[in-house]
C-alpha cells in the first residue's frame, strides 16, 4: 500500500476505488435492469411499436454478466466500506443525517442477501433453461434487480455527502 501512496495521495486512491465501484455498479445496473425487463416482458414476436422495439434481448444472455459484475462490485464495495465507516459516516452522524445512515446500514444487508442468492440465481439461469423453474427464476432476478437499484441509489446519496465530486 505504501508504494501506491507514493504515487497517488490516500484521498485520490480511495476516490479511484470509489469511481471503479461506481463504473462496475453502472454496468451491473444496466445488465440486471435489462434482464428484469426481459423476464417481465418476454420477447414473443417481431417488434412493433416504440415500447416493443425497446424491449431487450433474451433474458438468459444477461445472467453471466450479472454474476460476473455482482461479485467484484460487492467485494470492492466491502473494501470501500472501511473508508465510509470512518470518513463519511462519522460526519453524517455529527450533523444528524440519521436517515442516510440508516438507509446505508440497510444497504449492507440488502447487498448481502443478494450475494447469498447469487449461486441459486446462477443455477436457475444455466442453459438449457428449465420451464418449471421459470417463476423462481423471474423472482430471483427481480429481487437481485431490487438489491442493485437500492444499493445504487443509496450509495449515490452517500457519495453526494462525501465522495467523488462532492
Amino acid at each position: 500500500m505504501d508504494i501506491i501512496f507514493e504515487i497517488v495521495s490516500v484521498r485520490t486512491f480511495w476516490r479511484m476505488l470509489l469511481f471503479a465501484h461506481f463504473l462496475m455498479a453502472v454496468g451491473l445496473l444496466a445488465a440486471v435492469t435489462l434482464q428484469a425487463v426481459a423476464v417481465m416482458i418476454p420477447v414473443r414476436q417481431t417488434a412493433g411499436n416504440f415500447i416493443d422495439r425497446l424491449r431487450p434481448g433474451p433474458a438468459a444472455s444477461y445472467a453471466l454478466a450479472v454474476v460476473i459484475l455482482y461479485v467484484p462490485t460487492f467485494l470492492l464495495g466491502a473494501w470501500i466500506y472501511i473508508k465510509y465507516r470512518t470518513y463519511v459516516r462519522i460526519p453524517m452522524e455529527q450533523i444528524g443525517q440519521w436517515r442516510t445512515v440508516g438507509a446505508f446500514e440497510w444497504k449492507e444487508h440488502v447487498v448481502t442477501m443478494g450475494m447469498g442468492l447469487l449461486p441459486a440465481y446462477w443455477y436457475f439461469w444455466r442453459q438449457p433453461l428449465s420451464e418449471e423453474h421459470a417463476t423462481i427464476r423471474k423472482w430471483l432476478t427481480l429481487f437481485l434487480a431490487f438489491t442493485v437499484w437500492y444499493s445504487f441509489v443509496v450509495g449515490h446519496v452517500a457519495n453526494d455527502f462525501r465522495g467523488v465530486g462532492s
Binding site: 466491502a78 466500506y81 472501511i82 465507516r85 470512518t86 459516516r89 462519522i90 444528524g96 440519521w98 436517515r99 445512515v101 440508516g102 438507509a103 446500514e105 440497510w106 449492507e108 444487508h109 440488502v110 448481502t112 442477501m113 447469498g116 442468492l117 449461486p119 441459486a120 446462477w122 443455477y123 444455466r126 438449457p128 433453461l129 428449465s130 420451464e131 418449471e132 423453474h133 423462481i136 423472482w139 430471483l140 429481487f143
Partner: protein, 205 residues
C-alpha cells in the same frame, strides 16, 4: 441403495430440462451432479440469509475490525477508547458464509423428504422465533407485574421450537416439497424486514 433412490428422486425434482430421456451412464452422472448442485445452491441461499440475519441480530461476528487502527479482534469487541468505531459486518459475513456452505453440503446428503421437512422446520423456526420474542416483549411491557424475564431471546425460542416442530409434523411432505424453493424468496424478504425494523431508530429520530 437408499442413496441411489434418493439421487434418482432428486434428479426428477431439479432438472427435468437438464435431465435427459435416455438413461445412459454418462447422462445419469451429469443429472446426478446437477441435482446435488441444485440442492446445494438452494439450501445455501436459504441458510445464508437466515444465518446472516440471526448473527446480525445476536451480534455474533467471527471477528471485529477496528478500521481506524487496522486491528482485528476475535468475536465481538465493543469500541475501545482511541480506537475508533468497530465494524462487525465483515465478521457476520465471515461466519455466515462457511456455516451456510456446511449446511448446503450436509443437505446434499439428506434424502429429499427429510430435506423438505428439515428446511420447513428451520424456516418456520426462523420466522416464529422473532415473532415469539416480539410478542413476549409486548406482553412484558403491558402486564402490571414484573415480567422482565419474558424479554429473554432464549426463552422465546421455546414456543417457537414447539410450534415449528408441530407444523412440520402436521403438514404433508408434498406441501413441504411445494414450498421448498419458495423459501429462497421468503427468507431474504423476511430477513430484510427484521433487519430493517432493527434500524427504525435511524428513521424515527
Amino acid at each position: 441403495m437408499t442413496h441411489t433412490l434418493d439421487v434418482s428422486d432428486a434428479t426428477s425434482r431439479f432438472g427435468s430440462s437438464h435431465a435427459l430421456d435416455a438413461p445412459t451412464p454418462a447422462r445419469s452422472a451429469t443429472a446426478t451432479t446437477t441435482s446435488r448442485l441444485g440442492t446445494f445452491v438452494i439450501t445455501f441461499g436459504i441458510a445464508f440469509v437466515i444465518l446472516y440475519t440471526v448473527f446480525e441480530r445476536l451480534n455474533w461476528p467471527l471477528f471485529t475490525y477496528h478500521p481506524a487502527v487496522g486491528k482485528l479482534d476475535f468475536w465481538m469487541q465493543r469500541a475501545r477508547s482511541g480506537e475508533g468505531p468497530p465494524m462487525y459486518w465483515y465478521g457476520w459475513l465471515a461466519l455466515s458464509f462457511p456455516c451456510a456452505l456446511l449446511v448446503g453440503w450436509v443437505a446434499t446428503m439428506f434424502p429429499p423428504r427429510g430435506l423438505y421437512r428439515a428446511t420447513l422446520f428451520c424456516c418456520l423456526l426462523a420466522a416464529l422465533w422473532p415473532a415469539s420474542f416480539a410478542l413476549a416483549v409486548f406482553i412484558a411491557d403491558q402486564v402490571s407485574f414484573d415480567a422482565e424475564f419474558l424479554k429473554s431471546i432464549w426463552l422465546s425460542a421455546i414456543p417457537a421450537l414447539v410450534a415449528a416442530a408441530a407444523v412440520t409434523w402436521l403438514v404433508s411432505t408434498e406441501w413441504a416439497q411445494r414450498v421448498w424453493m419458495g423459501w429462497l424468496l421468503i427468507m431474504p424478504l423476511g430477513g430484510l424486514v427484521v433487519l430493517g425494523y432493527s434500524l427504525k431508530q435511524y428513521f424515527l429520530r
